[in-house]
Subunit: 239 residues, 2 copies
């Protein structure tokens, strides 16, 4: 078993299909049929190959998606490095968010720390921009890592909720959608006696679209994180 393309020895049967051809076939499916259709069997058919042959070029489905992400990241414009450190963090995070939001198939694969270690150079530019911004603002290295990780969690959470919600209501981000319009009133209905504040909010729950939530939340988050720059180390028990 191996995942070559960089030939180890030079003996044995030469591969008939390259990793690049498989990725190209995957992109073809993404564009033509949509990401729901990107299954291993269909990909194998598109590449003119047996299903199990795919496993010689990718470790598993997740590996395939990661390679696709790196592929597409190469076509992103590099992050904007002008502006204050704080603005650079915001810009890089937003770029990361927007790219992922455009690749709904990518969300299956984002939720692991190990994913970071497999990013290609283009994607790493964004991580570097965030970390550099934090350091330039005065964060310690530990704090810079903390800034990156926190933003990463927030971004992944927003992306996943958005993509997953869209899967069930494919009409996208309806600004007016209500969080409490679910189909099972018996379980989670609001009671003015028990949830007075939620009731008071009433139908304003869905008042802004997901983008606004992310934009505003990100700025609040970055400000809160940077306010601690240089002071107590993260890990400090003091609040």
């Amino acid at each position: 078993m191996a995942l070559p393309d960089a030939p180890s020895g030079r003996t044995g049967r030469p591969p008939r299909t390259s990793r690049a051809e498989i990725l190209a076939a995957a992109r073809r499916i993404l564009e033509r049929d949509g990401w729901e259709k990107l299954t291993l069997r269909r990909l194998a058919a598109e590449a003119g190959v047996s299903t199990m042959t795919l496993y010689h070029h990718v470790r598993d489905r997740e590996d395939l998606l990661i390679q696709l992400i790196n592929d597409l990241a190469d076509q992103l414009p590099p992050p904007d490095l002008s502006g204050s450190p704080r603005d650079r963090i915001v810009a890089a995070s937003t770029a990361m968010h927007d790219a992922l939001a455009a690749w709904p198939w990518a969300v299956e694969v984002l939720t692991t720390d190990g994913f970071l270690s497999r990013l290609g150079e283009s994607a790493l530019r964004i991580v570097e921009a965030i970390v550099a911004g934090a350091v330039d603002h005065g964060c310690t290295p530990q704090q810079a890592v903390h800034v990156y990780r926190s933003i990463w969690y927030y971004t992944v959470g927003e992306i996943l909720v958005r993509a997953h919600s869209r899967r069930r209501r494919p009409d996208g981000d309806q600004p007016g959608e209500t969080l409490f319009s679910g189909p099972d009133p018996s379980l989670g209905r609001l009671d003015p006696a028990r949830q007075p504040h939620m009731v008071a909010i009433g139908d304003r729950w869905g008042e802004f679209a997901a983008q606004d939530t992310y934009r505003l939340g990100l700025r609040a988050f970055v400000d809160g994180l940077l306010a601690r720059a240089g002071s107590a180390e993260p890990g400090d028990p003091a609040t």
Copy 2:
């Protein structure tokens, strides 16, 4: 098709199995065999029922997990409502986070806005506490929703990354784990010329465990969110 338990008419074959029995069987599997073993086929066997019979009591697997979450949430202690509004938000969010972190099987199901509409009363107490804290601090209703949603995204992201990462390295949260110790050096290796700040951080990437990251990030986030209380509406393009 229906999901009764509250009898609609009174004619027809009476059910042999109740929703409660199925949930009980599911909890038995969770405790005895671990959550990886909670499949519909196994659950059906445990409940002494055919697989497809399950679909008369739950809409699908996701519905099953949501009902389990609400079940377990009933046994959580209510959130701590003493302290300042800010402290209440932090306490409620932490309680939510810790509960979800203890239920790795729950993470599959958290990533949709619609999930909120299906929460039972116990789980809603936490949401209400967060919203109430924000309002009491001086947030507008819209801002309070924004506070809740942002914290929700951050929490879900952290939980998902943690659970997913643990699935591949079942040894849990190793404090010393390095983000850049992945198995594919050819893709994502750090280059001092291109990622100087990341390189400078070196092996400090994994210096704190996930809990600390969440704790600290949450406080920074809440502070950043509350700093905007009452001022410009969210949605304001400024900043």
